[in-house]
Structures are given as C-alpha cells and as structure tokens.
Amino acid sequence: MDLSFQEKSVWGSLLAIVVSSWLFYPHALPHIANGGTFLDILPRLIFVVVVIIVIEIVYHSIIAARSGAESSDERDKEFNLKAERLSGYVLAIGIVLITAHIIIRSTVAGAPSAPSSLLVSVYLMLALTVSELSKLVTQIWYYRVEA
C-alpha cells in the first residue's frame, strides 16, 4: 500500500486506541458494575494512558525516521473534517443512549437501580473512545477509497 505520512499516522492512532480499549474496558466495566471504586481502576487507567503515549511516540518516531514527516495537505484536512463530523454524531448518539439508560433505570419500576456516577463516567469514556474509533476508521476508509 502506498500510504502518506498522515495516513500512517492515523493507522498508528487506531492501533493505540484499539490496544488501550482492549486493555481497559473489559477490565474496568465489570469491575465498576460490581461495586468497584475509582481507586481500584486508577492503576489500570494510568497504565493505559502510558501505553497510548508510548505507542504513539514510538510508532510516529519510526514512520518519521523511515519516510520523513510530512505536514497535512488539503486532502488530509478534508478527510479529517469529514471524519470529525461523523465522530460528532457517534458521540451524540452515545450520550443520548447513556442518558436514556440512566433515565430508564431511575424511573421505570422494577428496573435495576440507576448506575453509579463512576459507571456513568466510564460509559462516557467508552462513548468518547467509540467516537474516536469511528473518526479514525472513517479517515482510513476515505484514504483507501480515494487512494
């Protein structure tokens, strides 16, 4: 594949997000749903943030050393804008779903009790992550289709 520096950068960010999500959410969501505290997941959260930073730095250093860093051009910016537009919708849908989830669990008789504020925070982080994933995948889709 003939990839520009910006497209390679997007692939690296996608790798970082996928790896960090895989390390964090399968561990954090069940833990908090079962009554765990923020301090219980804090070490994992710090670890995941470090993983993201390391992957981004190492990956971008390698691609910059191999083919030289290039600034984004009009095509990169157009794809980025289109992808950000879609990711905004994805984030909005996520927030609506989380809000509906809270309302239903708070008001409907017989439903489980409302989720804790910590669990809601992790849901919001998940919505942000899915939104970012949708942005990166959309960018890659545009790069591949218009290659």
Partner: protein
C-alpha cells in the same frame, strides 16, 4: 468511489514538462505525492487553489489541465 467529474491531463502534461515526477509536482504544489496520485486518477477533486497551482507548476493554462465533465 466513483471518479470525480473534474477531468485532467496532468499525467500527460507532466511527461510533456520534462518528465516531471509526481513527487516533483507535489513539492511544487505543496501537497503530498498521494494527493497528486488521487487527482491524476480523478478520484479526488483538488481545491481551486491547488488546481491553479498545478496549472502554474505545469506552465499551462488552467483549461489545458482541467476540464469538467458535464455529461449526465
């Protein structure tokens, strides 16, 4: 994705212009080589600014480089 309706003769004009490479044209225009490839394949429509810069880099009138397919 379907080809754009903005047609061009960039590939032919590059060779007529001293066999200019895609990278040389990209450097002169200020875009990446991959963007020039996408424009040449008519998969990406450049901005008006980039289109003029391509015509200037190829030392050709704008209408010699780009045209618009009006067929439905």
């Amino acid at each position: 994705m379907a080809k754009t309706r903005v047609k061009n003769n960039i590939r032919k004009l590059r060779f007529a212009h001293g066999e200019m490479t895609q990278q040389q044209l990209a450097d002169e225009v200020g875009v990446t080589r991959q963007t020039i490839v996408a424009i040449e394949k008519e998969k990406y429509s450049p901005s008006l600014d980039a289109a003029f810069r391509i015509a200037i880099a190829l030392d050709e009138p704008f209408a010699m480089v780009f045209s618009y397919d009006t067929a439905e």
